[in-house]
């Protein structure tokens, strides 16, 4: 039993009990709402203005791509050479192209092609990358060696250069073919990232605990390893969406992306380029649209990374 305070030496300080109430050892705080790591990520994103700005822009761009009719009533293809490189006027706020077509109308209609290529390429390359990277990282051995070297081969070819080489041999180019070609050269980056994340997730104690429970190896991969390794890939996917849109425009600009009959921002930039010095506006508008779109996705990627990768957040 503790003795009376009089026996204590002079510099023995004991805090007032009322000021320092003690709680039960290791009690669960039941007042807080349960929160998963996804809830945390959402709360972190929600508090960033950048998330809302880029989110609204992305939604707007997607809406334009899906329902161009809501934003534009003028034909994008009808040409009147009287209006060649004409300046803006009522009803045609962005002026006319060299062919006398309405720039605003083409801008709205072209969004669909650019966005389709971007989203398709991202989906294809992410899915391929996740599957290949996860299998290589998880099973290791010769599979890993073979897959990693194949990835390295594709990795060593610059995406645009590789795409140029293949595109010139394909006669009928659609948004899907462009997306597939871009994805073929971009998946190794996703696969590498996934492989690394899978290797570190597979070495954790919870994986060992599941093994000791008798969970099968493949099931552990699907249920525990992949969900814990997916975050960096989501980040890459968001960022690469923007770069794929740029790549499509680059290819179209070079005349080997989408065929000239398809309205896309890249094609329009390409055809306006010849008259840049006399009529810069027909080039400026699609370029601005492209920049805003890519910037939105990059900003979103930034926010997503901060939310999903707390280590990167700490460094900021």
């Amino acid at each position: 039993m503790p003795s009376s305070p009089s026996q204590l030496s002079a510099d023995h300080f004991v805090a007032d009990l009322e000021e320092t109430p003690i709680r039960a050892v290791d009690a669960v705080d039941e007042s807080e709402k349960p929160r998963s790591s996804w809830t945390d990520a959402w709360e972190s994103m929600r508090s960033r203005p950048l998330f809302w700005i880029s989110g609204v822009l992305i939604l707007l761009i997607i809406a334009v791509a899906i329902f161009p009719g809501v934003f534009n009533h003028v034909s994008a293809t009808s040409a009147n050479l009287n209006n060649s490189n004409g300046s803006p006027r009522a009803g045609h706020i962005m002026g006319f192209t060299y062919q006398g077509q309405d720039v605003y109308a083409r801008l709205i209609v072209g969004a669909r092609a650019s966005l389709t290529v971007g989203i398709l390429a991202t989906l294809i390359c992410t899915v391929i990358g996740i599957i290949i990277g996860a299998l290589a990282g998880y099973y290791g051995g010769w599979l890993d060696a073979v897959v990693s070297r194949i990835g390295d081969i594709f990795f060593s070819i610059p995406t645009v250069l590789g795409a140029i080489v293949i595109m010139t041999t394909i006669p009928n180019r659609t948004p899907l073919t462009v997306a597939v070609i871009l994805a073929i050269f971009a998946w190794p980056q996703v696969a590498r990232q996934m492989r690394g994340a899978v290797i570190s997730a597979a070495a954790t104690d919870y994986v060992m605990a599941s093994t000791a429970l008798g969970v099968s190896r493949f099931r552990i991969l699907i249920r525990h390893v992949v969900p814990n390794a997916i975050n960096p890939v989501i980040v890459i996917a968001t960022v690469s969406l923007g770069t794929f849109i740029v790549a499509e425009s680059t290819l179209s600009f070079l005349g080997i992306g989408l065929p000239g009959t398809t309205i896309s921002w890249g094609n329009d930039i390409s055809s306006a380029q010849t008259y840049l010095r006399t009529a810069p506006l027909p080039l400026l508008w699609p370029a601005v649209a492209l920049s805003i779109t890519v910037l939105s996705f990059l900003m979103m990627g930034d926010v997503v990374r901060d939310a999903l990768d707390p280590k990167a957040r700490a460094r900021r």
Binding site: V14, E19, T204, Y206, A209, A212, L213
Partner: protein, 586 residues
């Protein structure tokens, strides 16, 4: 410096001993978080005299490290001193300009960080890192002088062939040696104050003792005051004259350490002291009598389960007299380590180990890091393949089990791992984590599994509402209880506890040990308890195996090992426990 001046400074130390060097008054520290402002340290007062040693003890999150790092302005992240004063040698460090503070930091206040493994830069040589400190603090100038000083620092820190070791890199040093280097760096400019933040908690007990002895000698010679941050009451009792007990950011008790620990006044200190395991402790006895509780655990389960439980009881009855429920014979595990090229090196992690565990008892496997104890655990769990020898559980040899048989074996032997932050999938809710063994083995339907999860949560004394929470919301001890619940879900016979309480604060550790003891008598569990901490062994084990370099060097009942250790190695281990022979009060 001549001999005469040195003697005069020494006498100066003697004269000044006891005069306050560091005084903290009403210190408040806050952190900005997503959910607003959090006060981590509230109104802390403490004072440390010249040449004195003071220990701050408390559980994780009590603010002890925050207080210490605020002294040298190294608060992490958004931490900020909001009010209060830190007087050091006549200067208020809180208001001091950054430039002057960085001049004091390192030169007058040394710092020894916690983790020797991550606090040395792996790409720079040891010599470079020591010399950097010496140059930064202008202790010596000129290439040769700096080099000579660095060698001296390392020699003082207890590295004998210091001149050769200067060119080596951190990975060539053991944990203990790295900690010596860090202590050397911390003391290199003969600071007036040394802050040591859990300097030895990552090290083995025998290494810990050597390092602490050495630190004590050095600081006594230099007249340095030492501020220890520790969670180990035994260490505080043994090494510090003064003690400050912190709880939730406040000081709850402070004064002479021996007096506080022998006669704690504040209820929190009393609780801490009561939970501190020492060699004088006895094995924890369950508060529950087994006959009463058997009925309770069987209730509320599906008919399928009832059948299995019946079978389990039959098994139990058949084997209850078996002295060798788990029988390990001549167990050996060899790892092939790739040496680059086509060469490989054989490493014997476990070397001819034999022991038996009677049903319903606890066998402790004790040893320092690298002794092979965790490998034995993995072999018993069949997470690694056996090189030679046998492991038999209930008469069944487990080395050759495959497919269905192995799957069934997994129901009977379950693990709980050390790291409470790594052993639960962060993406799984608590309910799903505990239900995973049930779904994997296809036991019951959704509703009965839910019921079982609730029952298990109750068994490990967690509120049922925990079911929807995620691991990141829970403390280390709570996570460890979830891991125990998951291990219990399949009603196993054996639980392998691999350092299961080592990462926990002493109070939480005591709570988990009590829980494990209760569960053992309630469910007739057999434990293989792997630990480096002999004081904990005293509390839970019936039998002990001491392992060293892959071999079992001593095997006996717990009482025998503690009262009459036969091997010199065991005696070393026992003596190295900090505060082992200190009589705690309360």
């Amino acid at each position: 410096m001549t001999t005469t001046t040195e003697t005069s400074t020494t006498t100066n130390f003697e004269a000044q001993k006891g005069k306050p060097l560091l005084e903290i008054k009403g210190l408040n520290i806050g952190f900005k978080t997503q959910n607003g402002y959090v006060e981590a340290v509230r109104g802390v007062d403490l004072s440390l005299g010249q040449g004195e040693t003071l220990a701050i003890v408390g559980e994780s999150g009590s603010g002890k490290s925050t207080t210490a790092t605020s002294i040298i302005d190294l608060l992490p992240g958004t931490g900020k001193v909001t009010s209060g004063e830190i007087w050091f040698d006549g200067k208020n460090l809180v208001t001091l300009p950054k430039a002057e503070l960085s001049d004091i930091r390192g030169r007058e206040i040394g710092y020894v960080p916690q983790d020797p493994m991550s606090n040395l830069d792996p790409v720079l040589s040891i010599g470079w890192q020591v010399e950097e400190t010496i140059r930064a603090n202008r202790v010596a100038t000129g290439r040769k002088e700096v080099r000579a000083h660095a060698i001296q620092v390392l020699k003082d820190a207890g590295l004998s062939d210091a001149d050769k070791r200067l060119k080596q890199y951190p990975h060539q040093f053991s944990g203990g040696m790295r900690q010596r280097v860090l202590i050397g760096i911390g003391l290199s400019s003969r600071p007036k104050l040394l802050i040591a933040d859990e300097p030895t908690s990552a090290l083995d007990v025998t290494v810990q003792r050597r390092i602490l002895d050495h630190l004590e000698t050095l600081t006594r010679d230099y007249g340095t005051s030492v501020l220890f941050i520790t969670h180990d009451l035994g260490l505080a009792a043994e090494r510090a004259e003064k003690l400050v007990v912190m709880y939730k950011g406040r000081v709850v008790e402070s004064g002479p350490s021996q007096e506080i620990l022998a006669n704690p006044q504040h209820p929190y200190t009393q609780r801490l002291v009561a939970a501190a395991p020492s060699l004088a402790s006895r094995r924890i006895q369950s508060q529950i009598s087994p006959s009463v509780t058997h009925g309770v655990t069987v209730s509320d389960v599906g008919s399928d389960d009832a059948l299995r439980i019946e079978q389990a009881h039959e098994r139990e009855a058949a084997a209850s007299k078996a002295k060798d429920f788990i029988k390990v014979e001549n167990l050996t595990k060899v790892y092939n380590i790739r040496q680059g090229g086509f060469k490989s090196l054989e490493l014997k992690a476990v070397d001819d180990v034999s022991f038996e565990i009677p049903r319903g008892t606890t066998m402790a496997l004790v040893g320092e890091s690298g002794s092979g104890k965790s490998t034995v655990a993995k072999l018993v769990l069949q997470l690694e393949s056996i090189t030679s020898g046998t492991v038999a559980v209930d008469g069944q040899s487990i080395g050759a089990l495959k497919g269905r048989e192995l799957f069934d074996f997994r129901r009977r032997v379950q693990p709980v791992f050390q790291d409470p932050y790594g052993s639960l999938d962060p993406m799984y809710s608590v309910g799903n984590t505990i239900a995973e063994p049930l779904t994997t083995h296809n036991i019951g339907d959704r509703a009965s599994r839910q019921a079982r999860v609730r029952e298990l949560l109750e068994q490990v004394s967690l509120p049922v509402s925990t079911i929807n929470r995620y691991p990141n919301e829970l403390s280390g001890g709570q996570r460890q209880r979830i891991a125990v619940a998951r291990a219990l879900a399949l009603k196993p016979d054996v639980i392998v506890l691999d350092e299961a309480v080592s990462a926990l604060d002493v109070l939480v550790q005591g709570q988990i040990l009590n829980l494990l003891t209760d569960l053992q008598s309630e469910l007739g569990l057999t434990y293989l308890f792997i630990t480096h901490d002999l004081a904990v062994v005293r509390l839970v084990a019936d039998n002990v195996c001491v392992m060293q370099k892959g071999k079992v060097v001593e095997r006996a009942t717990t009482d025998e090992v503690f009262s009459n250790p036969e091997q010199a190695y065991t005696r070393d281990l026992l003596e190295a426990i900090p505060g082992a022979n200190f009589q705690f009060g309360a």
